[in-house]
């Protein structure tokens, strides 16, 4: 059922306030405490209005642990304590990279949001992945501060590698072209890099719109969000084969030199290759295995436009299944990471089979369709990876400059003529 997305800031909010959701009769309320998302809840809005009583009840029901913790930190003035002058490292400027392929409308909205970020010396880089038209170039031309570069072969991971190689700053934040970043997004990601052991930070991704049944189903069954509490992942608390809780590449920042040292993103994985996804999680896995930490920080908020049609959604679900098994195949074959066998069994035993059984029992056709598409992808994953790896190696032989092994850190200059503006 379509729903309005309502952002509700609780600090300074007038009590007993009516909320308009017209023309929607349902809303997803996202609660904020002093600019930070702390909870969400679905609320019925008969007549396109949430009454003051219903709003208060919904707020109270959604105000869980993370909300009260934010309130407590505010009461204790912990922000002031953190910001006291210390002899600590200064924040570093960052590169914002957007890898895109033929989505000019989405890209325009994404760049508009990125342009609204506070200016802290960041550069913005658009990587046009295998362009078929000049649409992306034209969009970038309307944003004078945005730099354009082109990755003519490979998939999303090849484009990510290109962004790392072209970036001028040592921390590179990635957002999808179909996402809209929050004003505090970049600052929140960057704040976590105070600790040199942190190689990657992921953020909270919430739906930009819930206008169709498919978008609603995506948010209910396979949301990007990983909760409203900050978490730190490392070898002590995380299996290298289970990267689901860590976050997603649609909203992440990485330390460029660490990713280079780990070999870069695998061009045989993720969008634009037969493996279809998994490139972000495979990199997370290598970072964790190398002893680094990954932080999930919900203060880094981004809004993602989910796929609008069922066909697209099924395709995405199948792609996720394919990507997970492609990633595991790589880990097993190339890194001899036998823990993937255990992880695959655990997912089947505790995730997929009970999920399918529940969907059948409740005759939930939407869940069933997504789970079956995902399962189909899982079966294809290993073969997709082998196919993808062969293609990536062929590409690498054809254009050795594009391979991970020969990547060199940061070109200080813009992309060469012919590749960019």
């Amino acid at each position: 059922m379509p729903a309005a997305i309502v952002k509700l800031e609780l600090v300074g909010r007038k009590p007993r306030q009516e909320i308009s959701t017209a023309p929607h009769e349902e809303a997803l309320l996202v609660l904020f405490w002093d600019g930070r998302a702390v909870g969400q809840i679905r609320v019925a809005a008969p007549g396109g209005v949430i009454s003051p009583d219903a709003a208060e009840q919904a707020i109270a029901a959604a105000a869980g642990w993370d909300f009260w913790l934010a309130w407590l930190h505010d009461s204790l003035r912990l922000r002031e304590l953190r910001e006291q002058p210390r002899h600590f490292s200064r924040p570093q400027p960052m590169t914002v990279a957007i890898c895109t392929r033929e989505r000019p409308e989405d890209l325009t909205r994404c760049l508009e949001a990125v342009s609204r970020l506070p200016d802290e010396g960041q550069e913005v880089l658009v990587v046009d992945n295998r362009p078929a038209t000049s649409a992306t170039l034209e969009v970038v031309g309307r944003f004078p501060k945005v730099r354009y570069t082109c990755q003519r072969d490979g998939g999303l991971d090849a484009a990510r590698n290109r962004a790392l190689a072209e970036s001028r700053h040592s921390i590179v934040a990635f957002t999808d072209d179909d996402a809209v970043v929050d004003r505090n997004w970049l600052r929140a990601l960057g704040a976590n890099f105070d600790n040199p052991r942190v190689a990657c930070v992921t953020g909270l991704t919430l739906p930009l719109e819930l206008e169709t049944d498919a978008q609603d189903a995506f948010e209910r069954y396979a949301p990007f969000g990983r909760g409203f509490g900050r978490r730190v992942f490392d070898l002590d608390n995380t299996s290298v084969a289970a990267m689901g809780p860590v976050g997603a590449g649609a909203n992440m920042a990485v330390r460029r030199d660490v990713v280079f040292a780990a070999g870069g993103f695998d061009p045989a994985l993720d969008g634009g290759t037969p493996a279809r996804s998994g490139g972000d999680h495979e990199m997370f896995s290598r970072l964790i295995a190398s002893g680094f930490q990954i932080v999930y920080d919900p203060a880094a908020l981004s809004w993602h436009r989910h796929r609008r049609t069922w066909r697209e959604l099924r395709d995405v679900a199948e792609g996720y299944g394919t990507g997970v098994y492609a990633m595991w195949t790589k880990m097993l074959l190339e890194q001899h990471e036998f823990s993937v066998l255990r992880q695959a069994w655990l997912w089947l035993r505790h995730g997929q089979v009970p999920g399918l059984a529940r969907a059948l029992r409740q005759r939930d056709k939407r869940a069933l369709a997504i789970l079956l598409a995902e399962a189909r992808g899982c079966l294809r994953g290993p073969f997709a990876y082998l196919l993808s790896r062969r293609a990536a190696r062929r590409t690498a032989r054809r254009a050795p400059g594009a391979t991970v092994a020969t990547m060199a850190p940061g070109s200080p200059e813009p992309a060469p003529p012919g590749d960019g503006t």
Partner: protein, 441 residues
């Protein structure tokens, strides 16, 4: 060379690390701090290599002083010898295997704002391309030391003092009597105890960075662990109170039966340890090959545990003698068990201000009749201040504090078992504004 006394004296103890020392000195030549305002004193621990020729054969922009011990006596003795020749008001101790960043001296000078401040510099570990499990673990261990110091409410203690990159006002260093040269390791922890007794305040200076080229191997780490066991006994003899904060005082912390049994075996089965060690090293390699990281880590921790207790047993030969030793330490330095009563019902700001004024060694936090948490007295740490309690309440004690506030009706939370659920209304007043309702349930 400047005839006037320099403001800073950098002391580098060295032994048989010519190339590392050359890298260290070259990095000091690139400091942002004026080269004529600091001197570098290299203190050789009877180094047998040609480090001296290397140092004296190069033109340095700073004044370089070479001194040395006749026989190997350890880094502590070398540091003391170097410090005795220092003319600067600030002593900066650097190890020979570190590479100072250009801002290091300037950052230490800025951090040491008065004669009682000790600046602990940052030593990011560089494992030089090694990617084996031991190197990964070693790097993570080093970083974890600095992670805890980055926390705004960190309560500094003697274990935070790392002589590899440390700045101490000369007057304070002389007042405490320098390093204890009888110790072959943990001499920095030991001076940390005396610095705290002298009223020093520790500060972590992240911008005073010196890259630590860490070449420790697994075998060396095990040997070092044994030395630490011995050193801890020697330290506890000198400062009985800190036995509570050392692994040595394990009995005082309610250890697990498995840990006690493992320690008993160390004391009883001292023969055949080398053979057992070789077998364990083989298992470590096998676990690493098949990526069994959990087993690998458990085995490594077990080996380090045993090495530590072998070191202790070198000094104290039996478990009975160990028990007597710990009892004796506790008798000589009874712990401070007086808790400062911090009732949050008086208002957060009021309680924090009282703690800042009182600076107690231990505090008990409560909300009316509801116990929130204890900040215990920890031997060899600074007294509790406002920021420690502020941070603890927002993190370690957040759950009990929120539960207590919910029970008192101050906030709209409903308790169902361990989980917290909410109910209206949203808080209507900030916690620190004054007295809150404190009725008991």
């Amino acid at each position: 060379m400047s005839a006037a006394a320099p403001q800073v004296s950098i002391v580098i103890p060295t032994r048989n690390r010519r190339d590392a020392l050359a890298r260290d000195l070259a990095a000091l030549a690139r400091q942002s701090y004026p080269a004529n305002a600091f001197e570098v004193i290299v203190s050789s621990d009877a180094t047998p290599d040609d480090s001296r020729e290397m140092a004296s054969g190069t033109e340095w922009p700073f004044r370089l002083v070479w001194t040395g011990l006749e026989t190997p006596s350890g880094a502590a003795a070398a540091r003391n010898l170097g410090a005795s020749l220092a003319r600067g008001a600030l002593l900066v101790f650097l190890d020979d295997d570190v590479e100072p960043c250009p801002d290091l001296v300037e950052a230490h000078v800025e951090a040491v704002s008065d004669p009682l401040v000790v600046s602990i510099g940052y030593l990011p570990p560089e494992v030089n391309g090694r990617n084996d499990l031991f190197a990964i673990t070693l790097r993570a261990w080093w970083e974890s030391i600095f992670e805890r110091m980055r926390v705004p409410g960190h309560r500094f203690g003697f274990c935070d003092v790392l002589a590899g990159n440390l700045a101490i006002p000369s007057s304070l260093f002389r007042k405490v009597g320098g390093f204890d040269s009888s110790l072959r390791c943990h001499e920095d922890y030991e001076i940390g105890v005396r610095l705290l007794e002298a009223g020093a305040r520790f500060r972590f200076s992240e911008t005073a960075r010196a890259v630590h080229h860490e070449a420790t191997t697994l075998g060396r780490a095990l040997v070092r662990k044994r030395e630490e066991g011995r050193a801890d006994v020697q330290m506890a003899r000198r400062h009985p109170g800190i036995v509570r904060s050392l692994p040595l005082g394990m009995d005082l912390w309610h250890p697990t039966a498995a840990a006690l049994e493992r320690r008993r075996r160390v004391f009883e089965l001292r023969g055949g340890e080398r053979r057992r060690m070789r077998r364990a090293m083989g298992r470590l390699r096998a676990y690493e090959r098949i990526r069994m990281r959990g087993r690998w880590r458990a085995l490594l921790d077990g080996l380090l545990f045993e090495e530590y207790w072998w070191g202790v047993s070198d000094e104290i030969p039996s478990l009975a003698a160990l028990g007597n030793f710990i009892d004796e330490c506790c008798r000589k330095a009874p712990g401070d068990n007086a808790f400062f009563d911090a009732d949050v019902a008086r208002g957060i700001e009021t309680v924090l201000a009282e703690i800042e004024q009182e600076r107690p060694s231990a505090a008990r936090l409560r909300l009316g009749d509801w116990h929130v948490g204890d900040v215990p007295a920890v031997a060899g740490t600074v007294p509790i201040d406002r920021s420690h309690v502020q941070w603890l309440m927002g993190h370690h004690f957040a759950a009990p504090l929120l539960r207590a506030l919910a029970r008192s009706g101050t906030i709209g939370l409903e308790i169902h078992g361990p989980a917290l659920e909410s109910r209206p209304p949203v808080p209507s007043r900030p916690l620190g504004d004054g007295p809150v309702r404190t009725e008991s349930l």
